[in-house]
Symmetry: C2
Subunit: 145 residues, 2 copies
DNA sequence: CTGACTGCAAAATCTTTGCAAAGAC
DNA sequence: GTCTTTGCAAAGATTTTGCAGTCAG
């Protein structure tokens, strides 16, 4: 896993390269994702940040804007749940897919090389230029069955 | 592919079994999905039905309610797009996955036996009781590249 | 007849936007 | 100083709900 200072530096470069500014709020969102392994909604992140840094002002809109920015820059990635809600995680780890418990919402990550290969083949077969791929297995986790 | 009269009968049985009523509106939604191969948003279905049957009253809420009913009953299935929007299709065909063009929205279906198998194995490995699984490959289709 | 279903409009969710004030460079 | 970013609240987009009238069985 990348060290935080390096990640931060990468983020700052990215901002500079796009004539964007480095702000406390943007850093906090990045740091949150780095320090909290797992998957969070924008609302989660907003609430937890406010709680953790009561003296820093941050608005929900800024969290949304920053998450979009991070996702576009491939620093974070999101998975969506049915029609409403999207959860974000740091997207720098090796690509992986998700198992999702439909009862408790628990998310488990997994990786399978064969699946990755087949996805590439399928895209090729249909002349798709693949930019992303996701696989979700929904069901009941061990505890919820 | 199942014949429409059979599908209709199955739907009617299902309604009866749950003490639900067979209505023109519910039938129209079912029929729409049967006759129009492809993937549609509730809004699409609503608009096209109004257009096709100007003399029948149907509200958007009813379309939503019927689609939920059909999905719960495994007669229809849906895939979601990012944060907003969900598209429905008749869910009776053999299970399949989707390639989605991020530019034009085109959807291509595919099926791969190996993927299916691996999904089962992964679920088993994590003691998940799998109820559903989806795979989406996002990219640019042949025309949009 | 009775209870479920419908359309409508209002409410609920989640996300984005407009704008004046604040902050980065 | 200039130009971007921020928080706020208002607006949007999509979906759900409450309700009184309507309809299937």
């Amino acid at each position: 896993m990348i060290e935080y200072p390096l990640l931060l530096e990468e983020f700052q470069h990215l901002l500079k390269a796009n004539a964007l500014k480095f702000t406390k709020q943007r850093e906090l969102v990045l740091k949150f994702l780095y320090e909290n392994e797992g998957h969070y909604t924008p609302e989660d992140i907003y609430t937890l940040l406010k709680q953790q840094y009561p003296n820093i002002n941050i608005g929900i809109a800024t969290v949304y804007r920053t998450l979009s920015l991070l996702e576009t820059s491939h620093i974070a990635s999101s998975i969506s749940f049915g029609v409403q809600g999207k959860k974000y995680e740091l997207g720098l780890k090796e690509h992986h897919d998700h198992l999702i418990c439909s009862k408790c919402g628990k998310i488990i990550e997994f990786y399978d090389e064969t699946i990755e290969q087949i996805q590439e083949e399928v895209a090729k077969k249909f002349n798709f230029k693949m930019t992303d791929h996701t696989m979700k297995i929904v069901g009941l986790c061990e505890n919820c069955q």
